[in-house]
Amino acid sequence: MARLSIDHLRKVYGEFHAVDDFSIAIAEGEFLVLLGPSGCGKTTTLRMVAGFIQPTAGRITIGERDVTALPPWKRNCGLVFQSYALFPHMTVAENVAFGLEMRKIAPADRAPRVAEALRLVQLTGFDERYPRQLSGGQQQRVALARALAMEPDVLLLDEPLSNLDAKLRQEVRVEIRDLQRKLGLTTIMVTHDQEEALTMADRLVVMEKGKVRQIGSQRELYEKPADRFVAGFIGRSAFLDGAVAEAGRFRTGGGLDIRCTATASGPATLALRPERLAIGAEAEACANRFPARVEHVSYLGALLDIDVRLTEQDRILLQMPNRPGAAEPKPGDMITIGWAEDAGLVYPREA
């Protein structure tokens, strides 16, 4: 059964469609991530679920309850804000107890629940501190504990890690995910960080300009991106512009003939994942094989990023593992690259 349903949700500001026809059913205990560039409508969607923005149209249901018209304080959604939004004049314990107090839980019954929430986020013993006496990471945990203590029906995370430094972000990411699994909390997280989204989500929603571009697992998004935007946003892709001349033939602007699986003819873009490209001897068996000039090589430790030019107009990016002893291409080298017929994904050109 769906814990949280969003049906045809829409938010329009004058002429601007902040969120355009968003529908999804989130299962009990599922971790859903809304991913997209800034201004894509992901935060607006989250804020509509929390009740801070009134939708123009659509319905939000939590369990059996239609909450669309309810004010934020009657929704029981635990929200962790990007800025944490801790109450500066209250101690850690008072912050965490606030939600319980609002639910009219007796002081004696609050204490063990506050202690439990703080234990979950490993902040036992910080009860009497004030938010200003805590580091960013600790404040983040308090915000999480505060949302967890009220035992929300849905946990909402608004870019919860964006104010942490890179190393801490990695740790907290895993912690939040573990905690979410352990408590079986239905969760929606908003982020623009692709890596964060991929490591934490059960399922992802890619949004752009208010529209849902694709909903799916990490594998589905990466291997079968629904459109050119998703292909470019999730992972990296090289794009070749051209047209499908006949079924199975793509002709680039630079005049290359590429075998592909597309059938519909017309102007299109071919997307290639860098790791699907083969170089040199490995390229011999590929359906598509082309000579290419190395333009630029970036050393990334485990990988080498290589920019190559196929024709004056056609450039692509490929990746090769950095193996000791392997010949490393240098700018100006001529190499052969190749890829399988089904490696290139063809998208009709957007008007």
Binding site: F52, P72, W73, L79, L86, M102, M150
Partner: protein, 271 residues
């Protein structure tokens, strides 16, 4: 060379600062000094020192009554000023309302309006109100408190608006998300965050009301005299140091209030 010029500039600056400070403090110092003179007619050098003027001030019925009335009016006006000024500031800061900036200016106006003008206008207004309604407005405590509220409101609006400017509204959203309705959110989250502004506004509003002379002159009724008016009336007949003693008591009380307040709220941060 540069160092020498720098220190020269420093000396000039310190000199100017000392001069300005002296200009501000000298009258205060003289008032305090005078309060302890023994002779009745202030003249230099003092003939001796005495505490009798303090006793005279404490036994002067107009002063005591005036002090109590000023205290009463000041407290009531401050409360009304807060009740009117806080919601006004919240609305002005948070909502784009029609004529918002104009209303803001209007609320601050009593601060820059000459007391005589304000007093005259209110005098006429209160008389007209009394004629129109038949209610005893003129010279009443209510009329005086209402007028004093007018000079408290600008302080509240000014200081609360300033406190709200730096206020992070997401903590209000956090409270609502945790189940707090609008009133609880205001009481538990918003109010504590703007408390320094409220304390400072109350203090300055009260002092403004307490020391107000010009406006009050038009509005007091028979048997109802504020302390500044009582002092003025006394000075019309006598110039002995009783007035200085009464002033010293005021300076000490207000100074103490500021020091105590400053321990809880750094006034220099809000004003």
């Amino acid at each position: 060379m540069t160092a020498a010029r720098l220190s020269l500039g420093r000396i000039a600056l310190n000199g100017a600062a000392t001069l300005s400070l002296g200009f501000i403090l000298l009258p205060l110092i003289f008032v305090v000094w005078l309060a302890f003179f023994r002779q009745e007619i202030p003249s230099f050098p003092p003939e001796g020192y005495s505490l009798k003027w303090f006793q005279a001030a404490a036994n002067n019925k107009p002063f005591v009554d005036g002090f109590l009335l000023s205290l009463q009016v000041g407290v009531l006006a401050t409360l009304i000023g807060l009740v009117v000024g806080v919601p006004a500031s919240l609305t002005l800061v948070r909502h784009r309302i029609v004529l918002g900036p104009a209303i803001n200016t209007l609320l601050l106006l009593p601060l820059v309006m000459p007391g005589i003008v304000l007093g005259t206008s209110l005098y006429v207004f209160q008389i007209e109100t009394e004629i129109a309604t038949g209610l005893p407005v003129m010279g009443s405590l209510g009329g005086l408190v209402a007028a004093h509220s007018l000079v408290v409101i600008p302080w509240v609006v000014k200081l609360v608006t300033a406190s709200l400017a730096g206020f992070d509204r997401t903590i209000e959203e956090a409270a609502q998300n945790l189940g707090a309705g609008p009133w609880t959110t205001f009481r538990r989250v918003t109010l504590p965050s703007i408390r320094p502004g409220l304390v400072a506004a109350s203090l300055f509003g009260f002092v403004t009301s307490f020391g107000n002379l010009e406006m009050s002159l038009f509005l007091v009724g028979p048997g109802r005299t504020t302390l500044p008016i009582a002092i003025l009336q006394y000075l019309e007949w006598k110039i002995d140091p009783t007035v200085a003693a009464a002033s010293v008591i005021q300076i000490v009380l207000i100074g103490a209030a500021m020091i105590v307040t400053d321990r809880y709220v750094k006034l220099s941060r809000v004003v």
